[in-house]
């Protein structure tokens, strides 16, 4: 945590209300997001209990698994959820723009879940569904493996910084508002909302006390409150089991509707709160560069959608050595880009980076605008030098490449020297790009004496790493017998019996 964000948290604590951390919302918010609130049953990893899903506050659909231990019911639930999710996703697979290679869908689906636990639950659900067979014994409807593959795609994509196809609402809120509570507490939607927008007539303290009371604010999932489990859920499921053992259709229907009502009571407060959070987030302006990241989401969505159209195979359970290394490179690159984008767009984030010594701003006190140098290729190019006087605790080494949010697009510079004089620092930078092609820099592309400029490190373009061909994993990363991961971690460790109890 940097000094500035720590300060914001202290300020929030002192004034007992949330303090904005950023000027913008750095995540794109779709005009038609699909909200999913998944609930899971305690005691068995990845056993879905219920989900509320829908694209508007007023038309949420509640899906319930009356007996979560029953595999048939579990996949009937998956099929029900799959039909809604696939209808939503398919509605984005209509409009394409561009020709040939550049052809892509113009919009992407966006799934919102209440908290990071929701993302993990969708990952589990995707893992559970994507390998299911649609023929033979224990066949499931076709939509089940399709849902599994799509959920896995969205979860994988969500790991990439800056992507907006699947987001936890608490993450978006905590990125914009600082509260007086810890990062862990900020994952509780109810108490986070208590800080940002307490219900009318309640103080933040009162709202927080309510948020901690599971009878007033049921947990936002994926796990339900243990008290609710013991007091209400377990007897209701037992009733359902008894009714289904008796084979009485009326009793079964009654037991099922009781159970639905019970779970609706647990899930609806969260449903309303998620939509309230979404409208709060809509009131924050979207950062300019979110559009650029949306483009990249569109590309990824189109690529996966086209792969689905040509008969997709489910994603593998574990990454191969080369796949994992490639993915790590992409994730690191995306994170660096996203952090730079945020600081570039947002003065608050820039200030945060400045307080950590990773960026600086100040006035130009010396300038050598006419400086020319001879390049390797023997041409004369303008390379103006400017010296910026700053009070920031700067920590950038010479030769660091820089970009500037306060100069025209394309402006590039490089740190030449950093001299500390008393409490201030004089940074000499060489302007290396964004001056036009002429021998004399274009008007306004070189900072002038007295001008206020800000600089931050350029995450830069870097060549994508070259790995060996994916069918030729080298000796350091594969066992000589050829089946490396299998030998260390058997592929069937996660195998399960269908195992319906009677």
């Amino acid at each position: 945590m940097s000094t500035l964000s720590a300060l914001a948290h202290v300020q929030a604590m002192e004034s007992m209300r949330a303090v904005p951390l950023t000027e913008f919302r750095h995540r794109r918010l779709s005009s038609r997001p699909l909200v999913i609130i998944p609930l899971a049953m305690a005691g068995e990893a990845g056993a879905p209990l219920a989900a509320m899903v829908g694209t508007a506050r007023r038309n949420g659909t509640l899906l319930v698994v009356a007996q979560p231990r029953n595999r048939d019911q579990r996949f009937a639930f998956a099929a029900g959820l799959g039909r809604i999710v696939m209808e939503y996703i398919n509605s984005f697979r209509q409009d394409r723009s561009g020709e040939g290679e550049r052809s892509r869908y113009t919009d992407t689906p966006q799934i919102l879940v209440p908290n990071p636990g929701g993302v993990r639950t969708l990952a589990d659900l995707g893992r559970m569904c994507r390998f299911r067979a649609t023929t033979g014994p224990y066949a499931v409807p076709e939509v089940v493996p399709e849902l599994g593959m799509w959920l896995t795609f969205l979860v994988d994509r969500a790991e990439q910084a800056g992507s907006s196809v699947l987001l936890p609402v608490t993450g978006m809120l905590a990125e914009h508002w600082a509260t007086g509570q810890s990062t862990l507490e900020n994952q509780n939607l109810a108490s986070l909302m208590a800080w940002i927008a307490p219900p009318p007539g309640l103080s933040v303290e009162q709202a927080m006390a309510d948020a901690e009371n599971p009878d007033v604010c049921p947990p936002a999932g994926p796990s339900t409150s243990p008290e609710f489990d013991n007091r209400d859920l377990a007897p209701a499921i037992r009733n359902f089991d008894e009714a289904s053992a008796l084979g009485d259709p009326q009793a079964l229907a009654d037991a099922e509707s009781d159970l639905r009502e019970l779970i609706a009571g647990q899930i609806q407060p969260t449903w309303r709160m998620v939509w309230q959070a979404i409208s709060l987030l809509r009131s924050v302006p979207e950062a300019p560069r979110a559009a650029k990241r949306f483009e990249s989401d569109c590309r990824a969505f189109t690529a996966y959608s086209d792969y689905q159209d040509t008969g997709a195979l489910p994603q593998r359970k574990r990454d191969t050595a080369i796949g994992a290394a490639r993915r790590l490179g992409q994730l690191e690159h995306a994170l660096a880009e996203f952090e730079a984008d945020m600081a570039f767009d947002d003065r608050f984030v820039l200030a945060d980076r400045r307080s950590a010594g990773e960026a600086f701003a100040g006035t130009v006190v010396e300038a050598e605008p006419g400086r020319m140098v001879t390049t390797d290729k023997n041409s004369r190019v303008p390379r103006p030098l400017v010296t910026v006087l700053t009070e920031d605790p700067l920590r950038l080494a010479a030769d660091t490449k820089l970009i500037s949010p306060s100069m025209p697009t394309g402006h590039k510079a490089k740190v030449v020297s950093v001299r500390r004089v008393g409490g201030t620092t004089r940074v000499t930078v060489e302007i290396t790009g964004g001056m036009g092609r002429a021998r004399v820099p274009k008007q306004g592309t070189v900072p002038e004496l007295g001008q206020y400029v800000a600089y931050l490190p350029d995450p830069g373009w870097r060549p994508s790493p070259q790995f060996p061909a994916s069918d030729a994993t080298p000796w350091t990363h594969s066992a000589p017998d050829g089946n490396d991961t299998e030998s260390a971690v058997p592929e069937n460790t996660a195998a399960e019996e269908w195992g319906n109890e009677d």
């Binding site: 994992a324 290394a325 790590l328 010594g357 070259q466 350091t476 990363h477 066992a479």
Partner: protein, 449 residues
């Protein structure tokens, strides 16, 4: 149960020359795709690299050397070219690289941007990142220096450049890391965030793993403790005897008795713990950082003469012989600023850096700001054994630790709570235990401020 610092070297320890011969013999017999050499701090890793490279060229090979940073490459090229004037050494580098004056002065060192520029060279040295850009060339042998600092995904990019590899490195230092927080690959044998050596060993059985048994850097006072704390299964000893190294003041102490007492303790025993009052403080605590600065300033002010096997008649300590090691970059900034404020001309020449950046470097006296000093909690970052190991094993003469009282209590109230994952081996040394062993040792050299 522990026998403390025996003052005579253990006679059962194999002789270092024999260890080197065994490594070279393993490389020569052609039976293994890889040979691993684990080297404790200052055990002559570079000497081994230079020697192995020479043996390979004599055997008709054209080895490549992979280092992790440009500085490491420069050092290796310089050493190779100087010690083997008959061998042409090539340095493969990026377009913006400007060779140092020392490198330019060597007639048998060539700098090139592509392999085509270096066709006449018998040994080619470059960073791993540079080797990753080379295509379509395969060499018989590669020597990978500081291999434990190279991530597995980097190894994957360069592995096609060589048929056999000598992996040399220090397993006790800081592991490579990633800023991406993902649990996706935990437990996979080819986890790309792991170091390359572990991943290679995981997939190849029967790879010979050698150990260099003698640290030439660490004095006799330090080697047993460092060995026990950070290399629990692979003991090593100091290469120098009890009387070889010594530190003496040039002046007598006056006025700053608190600092002088700590310095005297360090000069006579090789260790000192300068313990400040118990307090919870932020990591940028002025008192702690100022004390570390003052100790360095005082050392320079009083002047010290170091005697060792290189300078038998003594040599005056220069600012560059002293380092201050910290855990965080903002601490380093504050200490540097404090050194400038002392007004002494020499003080800014003292090296101040974080553990990550001090890796692989060597000093006469090192002043360490303990990573856990003044903290309320012991996070995995601050407990990491590699971090303390780097800080406590850079010195040839003495190590002074500055800390707030209460680290032992902090350790006792924060037992390791890291989650346990399937297929992930327990990591040794354990940070918690290593810290306890170091504290036990330091308690014997405690000076309360």
């Amino acid at each position: 149960m522990r026998t403390d610092d025996g003052m005579t070297p253990d006679p059962s320890v194999p002789d270092p020359a024999a260890a080197t011969e065994a490594i070279l013999a393993n490389m020569a017999d052609g039976g293994h795709r890889a040979v691993v050499v684990d080297s404790p701090p200052g055990a002559g890793k570079s000497t081994l690299v230079v020697r192995a490279a020479r043996e390979l060229t004599e055997g008709g090979e054209r080895p490549i050397i992979v280092a992790q940073t440009n500085n490491q490459v420069d050092d290796l090229v310089e050493r190779l070219a100087r010690e083997h004037p008959d061998i042409a050494v090539g340095r493969l580098s990026g377009s913006s690289y400007a060779p140092s004056a020392a490198l330019n002065a060597l007639t048998n060192a060539v700098v090139g941007r592509t392999l085509a520029d270096l066709t006449g060279c018998r040994i080619i040295v470059a960073t791993a990142a540079k080797w990753a850009t080379v295509r379509d060339a395969t060499f018989g042998w590669a020597i990978l220096d500081e291999a434990y600092q190279m991530r597995s995904d980097m190894l994957l990019q360069i592995v096609e450049r060589f048929e056999r590899g000598l992996f040399v490195g220090d397993p006790g230092q800081l592991d490579p890391f990633t800023i991406v927080g993902t649990e996706r690959w935990i437990g996979l044998p080819h986890d790309p965030t792991q170091n390359g050596v572990s991943v290679m060993l995981e997939h190849n059985h029967g790879i010979p793993v050698h150990r260099l048994p003698v640290s030439w850097r660490l004095p006799l006072t330090a080697a047993p403790t460092i060995s026990r704390a950070f290399y629990p299964f692979t003991h090593f000893t100091a290469g120098t005897g009890a009387d070889t190294r010594a530190l003496e003041f040039r002046t007598t102490g006056f006025a700053r008795t608190d600092l002088d007492e700590t310095l005297a303790q360090a000069f006579t025993t090789g260790w000192a713990l300068h313990e400040l009052r118990r307090r919870h403080v932020p990591r940028t605590d002025t008192e702690t950082l100022q004390t570390a600065t003052d100790l360095a300033g005082r050392l320079l002010e009083r002047g010290a003469v170091a005697t060792c096997e290189r300078h038998r008649s003594g040599r005056e300590l220069q600012p560059g012989d002293i380092a201050i090691g910290v855990a965080h970059r903002d601490q380093a900034d504050l200490v540097r600023a404090a050194l400038v404020r002392t007004g002494s001309t020499g003080a800014p020449g003292v090296v101040v850096d974080t553990a990550n950046r001090l890796q692989g470097r060597e000093f006469e006296v090192v002043i360490v700001v303990h990573p856990l000093s003044g903290r309320r909690d012991a996070t995995a970052f601050h407990l990491e054994a590699g971090r303390l190991c780097v800080l406590a094993s850079r010195h040839r003469q003495a190590c002074i630790v500055v800390a707030r009282e209460g680290i032992a209590d902090l350790l006792d109230s924060h037992p390791s709570t890291d989650p346990v994952h399937l297929s992930v081996r327990a990591k040794f040394p354990d940070g918690w235990e290593a810290n306890q062993i170091m504290l036990d040792k330091l308690a014997q050299h405690r000076v309360a401020a």
